[in-house]
Amino acid sequence: MSAMDATPYALPNSDAEHEQLQEIWAPKRGLFSWFAQIDHHSIGRRFIFTAFVWFGLGGLLAALMRIQLAKPNNTFLSADQYNQIFTMHGTTMMFLFAVPVMEAVAIYMIPLMVGTRALAFPRANAYAYYLFLFGGIMLYVAFFLNMGPDAGWFNYVPLAGPEFSPGKRIDIWAQLVNFTEISALTVAVEIIVTIFKMRAPGMSINRMPLYVWSMLVTAFMIVFAMPSVMTASNFIGLDRLVGTHFFNRAEGGDVLLWQHLFWFFGHPEVYIIFIPGLGMVSAIIEAFCHRRIFGYTAMVMSLVATAFIGFGLWVHHMFAVGLPQSGQSFFTAASMMIAIPSGIQIFCWIATIWMGKPNFRPPLMFVLGFVAIFVIGGLTGVMLASVPIDLQVHDTFFVVAHLHYVLIGGAVFPLLAALFYWFPKMTGRLMNERVGHISFWLAFIGFNVTFFPQHKLGLVGMTRRIYTYLPETGWGPLNLLSTIGAGILALGMIAYVGNALYSMKWGPIAGSNPWDGATLEWATTSPPPHYNFLHIPTVSGLEPLWNNPENAPVVTGLATDKRELLITRMLDAEPDHRFVFPNPSIWPFISAVSTAGMLVSLLFSAWALPIGTVIVAIFLTLWFWPTTPKKEGEEPPNDGAAEAVA
């Protein structure tokens, strides 16, 4: 209680309110309640934890690959095993780790940063988490049963089609895409609605933190990109299981249709992964240089421009396919043009650091590492945008190097920085700084030793996705170096994760604002209570906590006997009406189980569709069954906006 009193927006004599809110919002104990939980903190934590389990498995797969490639003609893995492993590595990292972990951090942090009590559609949030979990379990169970997909994470037809990939391996891949994309789309909708309609009063659209902007942009990208890959994966599922001819040229389909459908999703996908990282970097530079990010408007415009342009690049994955040259030039131009908004962001950050007072804690170190690594990745990206150069290095280890530079540099390093930064908020304890620095240097050095030589390997002829190579090619020494680097990188990751796990239990206790951050999440205790803020704060500028928060008005009058929140208007965040959020419910979990059952059974029988649809529909009906008024979901009579008390 005293901790809450120490937060800037707390009013005196609020103990009774605190207890009532605690009573309404805190989860009950017990196994049943654990599955019925819809609190965005616990769902967010589960999401992050599960995503990192997949990250660890994906990393293990990478280690296996690097061991196999360390020397020529190695026999550590067979061709079939290697093909399954590299496909699983890509699929895990892209579908099960990269996008979900970014969404997971947003699920936890967005309500805190915009100043509300919950994430919109909390029961759908739980459903999305369970679907994500079940999809990953399905994939790995299949992998351990020698049923893992083996045609690459982008699964080109006709290799992945019914004739050349017998068995259920590719069908598992297609269903995994269904699982993860339903999950991602659901969370994206929740994020958009939360950001648009649930911001604290006064947080107009031009006073949103840049991280919130980045998640808004990402969520919109997800909404437009994911349906394309779901279409593609369902087309290939139909081709394989039902006998349609979407990708069969002889009956009117086309092999290239797959590539277009997939890459129309695939290119925005990497920006979906990367843009949250940009938001995180902004948050960290602001906090650790103690200065507002320079050029707020330019930064927002850059995020939006990156998202838009990102949808117009996909053919640069298909330059070797034989499309007309003039069309290719358009995509070259767009692929180079997208470097401009990213460049603007980097220049603005450097300006911010220049004008601020850098505090070289591990989060800022990871951010500096991000700049170094990501700029290399961006420059090799510009090289790949050029058609002649791409025709030499496409599908070689040059591309492998590029993609890891932009994904690990551009997304994982900011993620590690952000998790270090927000760790005290989520757990109430600080991660160890010394180990944090060590893990940064191990990761930074290890990463570069692993991936920089791969640029050269691609240029001297080493193609992607090969399980071995001949000694006469001379690729052995650089591959061995790359494997050693992978070991160092792994040590760095293990150090970081170990640090996190240890500090969760035994780290030094953190106060509500250990880094002196500027944004609203630091205005409540660490960890936050289940209702986030005792009183919803109001905001009058970009850095609420640096501008006299003790004297800021807060919102009072929201009910404390039900889960009531304030809904505000989209652009200027004027209070609009009150809304009561639902209580915990077991139906999301049961619906997710039945959806998962339907999707997995579809692999074996078409009857799963009618039967499964009926069952899922029944559970969804029970989920949405309206309850009697005054319990939940009904708006109380409109008695004007809640009062503000000075």
């Binding site: 379990i137 089609g161 004739e163 050349f164 017998p166």
Partner: protein
């Protein structure tokens, strides 16, 4: 957390019942010498009492990779030249319920290896034995006599007939038992 573990184990157990054999990929099968015990006995007149041979199982009946290889070899070794895509032409159809020389795997094996009167060539020594078994598995799939999850999907060609995984089970007409 423990619940999650139990769920995982249950899922694995269920899937284990369906996955193992279908998804195996065996590449290194050694060919065996020609003329051996897998060939069905052609004559039932034997010294002493006649006992039918032990049924020989097709090792590839449930293996998706092998059935798909059989499909490839069906074209590569020009079975399509006489049997078309299963509907027959010069040779009899292979996707119906009439099995002139027996529908059991070892009968089909013998048909391919020994040849048959009226025009079926003998491929003894020309097709390695494990590939003959793959062809047997494919021929069985033409009339729906393999598990549906192991049968192949449509080809990347003009569609000549329903793909094997959609073929209904066509039970072979019962052949009279051999008389001693």
């Amino acid at each position: 957390m423990r619940i999650r573990g139990i769920v995982l184990l249950a899922a694995a157990a269920v899937a284990a019942l369906t996955a193992c054999e279908r998804e195996e990929r065996r590449f290194r099968e050694m060919p065996s010498a020609a003329g051996r015990r897998n060939t069905e006995r052609l004559v039932t007149l034997v010294p002493g009492p006649y006992t039918p041979d032990v049924r020989v199982k097709n090792p590839y009946e449930r293996n998706a990779f092998a059935i798909s290889e059989g499909k490839r070899l069906f074209t590569w070794y020009n079975c399509v030249g006489c049997h078309a895509n299963g509907g027959g032409g010069m040779g009899p159809p292979l996707m119906d319920d009439r099995w002139r020389y027996g529908s059991d795997p070892e009968n089909i094996f013998a048909t391919i290896v020994e040849g048959r009167p009226n025009g079926m060539p003998s491929f003894r020594g020309k097709i390695p034995e494990y590939q003959v078994w793959q062809l047997v598995a494919f021929v069985q799939s033409l009339s729906g006599n393999v598990p549906k999850d192991a049968a192949s999907g449509r080809s990347d060609d003009m569609q000549a007939r329903k793909q094997e995984q959609a073929v209904p089970d066509i039970k072979p007409e019962r052949e009279p038992a051999p008389q001693p």
